[in-house]
């Protein structure tokens, strides 16, 4: 068996980006999900949407080439791309609530086997950060989550039921962690691909929810 490794964040986000299809309108959350934009596949074009009303923008701007009026959802300077369009914030969320976004990728503190997830408030801390997450979670066609498999203290994050206040109920379709790729099915989490060297049983031990493990389980797919 291969050496047991945890997946790097870029590999995790590459894997989700492989699921994007030609012509999809994609909204990437701040932080780790942004790494999805480093995966490029010349066989298909996707359209980047950001909450601040820009659709069809290009890669991050190189240092010294930033346009001070053009940023993505994380406030990073991005480049203009042919065909880019800009709208105001209300129109940007018309696109989101109106069902134009094919997939949104976000981070999370917890995901439950029924597709609930929590990413806006942590216990012991007053207030929370919602931003556009609740609109995106409720209304994008698909919600993908990229997160570590366990907390820093080793507690599982793939749960039977969320313990934190949810961002939206029952919406998550796919989760990538540093241990593998998971689909949320009506029966719960299905382990689709495992990190190299990790047996399904070892991944189950790091997971509170019961994993569905079937014969079609594969090893994690890296970018070629």
């Amino acid at each position: 068996m291969a050496d047991k490794v945890k997946l790097e964040r870029q590999a995790m986000c590459d894997r989700l980006a492989m699921e994007f299809e030609e012509g999809w309108i994609v909204n990437l959350g701040v932080g780790m999900p942004t790494l999805c934009s480093n995966y490029s596949d010349p066989s298909r074009d996707i359209i980047n949407h950001s909450e601040n009303g820009v659709v069809g923008y290009g890669p991050l701007a190189k240092e010294g080439e930033e346009d001070r009026h053009l940023v993505n959802a994380g406030g990073q300077h991005v480049t203009a791309q042919a065909g880019m369009a800009v709208v105001n914030h209300a129109e940007s969320f018309m696109m989101i609530r109106g069902g134009m976004i094919d997939v949104t990728v976000m981070g999370a503190y917890e995901v439950a086997e029924n597709g609930d997830f929590a990413n806006w408030r942590i216990p012991g801390r007053k207030g929370g950060g919602i931003g556009g997450a609740m609109d995106l979670a409720a209304c994008a066609k698909r919600v993908f989550i990229a997160m570590e498999h366990t907390t820093r203290d080793g507690k599982p994050k793939l749960l039977k039921k969320c313990t934190l206040p949810v961002t939206a109920p029952g919406v998550v379709k796919m989760v990538v962690t540093d241990l593998g790729l998971f689909e949320i099915t009506p029966q719960g989490f299905k382990l689709v691909e495992h990190a190299p060297g990790w047996s399904p049983q070892e991944i189950q031990e790091q997971t509170e929810a019961k994993l569905i493990i079937q014969d079609d389980l594969k090893e994690f797919r890296f970018r070629s």
């Binding site: 009026h69 209300a90 207030g127 929370g128 919602i130 609109d135 209304c139």
Partner: protein
């Protein structure tokens, strides 16, 4: 700049647009900070950032804001402590947390003279508790109300003497909505204010009928 905001009294509601550091009316905010109005309610996407630039957080830190209405009442990482975070944790400032798309639409309908709207965003979360729910076309929605304001502080790229405004790229964000939803709209402009007729009517984002005061940002003003 100081004259433009001189009459803003204590206790009113102000709008502060901007997203990712772009389109923030920093010169007007700096002037309002010098002017010293207190007990203000502020509507803004966030409650200030950890950088040194003037934003709504500058007024929060100065004790001028009694309540924030925003999409983030916590920073993305607990390590990022803003003046707002400190004051909120000590119960020295009040806040209402609103999903970003709901915030934008509440501003839009305040401008549009509409009494409310139903959105699927936040259904099934803590934020929907106590709000009217209604099933529309088979989906549960919550009722949200308009969010009007007394003074809108706006940052624009170009303007003419009648107050017609044009924004550049993602500078637009909340600016048009807040310009149209405020009773008194005060605009800082990045370019020389031109004569009526010099801007193409088809390119105007906010008609001048919404705008009350215009100030050209001085050379030594805040440009970032």
């Amino acid at each position: 700049m100081d004259a433009a905001i001189a009459d803003i009294p204590d206790g009113v509601t102000i709008f502060s647009p901007g997203f990712g550091g772009v389109g923030v009316p920093r010169n007007l905010l700096a002037a309002l900070n010098r002017q010293g109005a207190k007990g203000l309610t502020a509507v803004s996407n966030n409650a200030g950032t950890v950088d040194e630039l003037v934003d709504i957080g500058t007024l929060v830190e100065a004790g001028q804001i009694k309540k924030m209405i925003c999409a983030f009442t916590a920073t993305p990482h607990p390590s990022q402590v803003t003046p707002f975070t400190r004051m909120y944790n000590n119960d020295e400032i009040d806040a209402e947390l609103v999903p970003q798309g709901t915030l934008a639409e509440r501003l839009r309908i305040a401008a549009a003279g509409i009494g409310g709207f139903y959105t699927p965003t936040s259904v099934g979360t803590e934020l929907a508790e106590g709000k009217e729910h209604r099933e529309i076309n088979g989906r549960i929605h919550v009722l949200e109300y308009p969010l009007p304001g007394d003074y809108g502080l706006i940052r624009a790229w170009k303007a003419d003497k009648l107050g017609n405004l044009i924004f550049r790229l993602t500078q637009r964000n909340f600016n048009p909505l807040m310009a149209m939803a405020a009773t008194t709209t005060i605009v800082e402009v990045e370019n020389d204010i031109v004569e009526a007729g010099e801007l193409d009517p088809d390119t105007i984002h906010v008609p001048g009928i919404y705008v009350d005061r215009l100030v050209r940002i001085p050379e030594d003003g805040i440009w970032d």
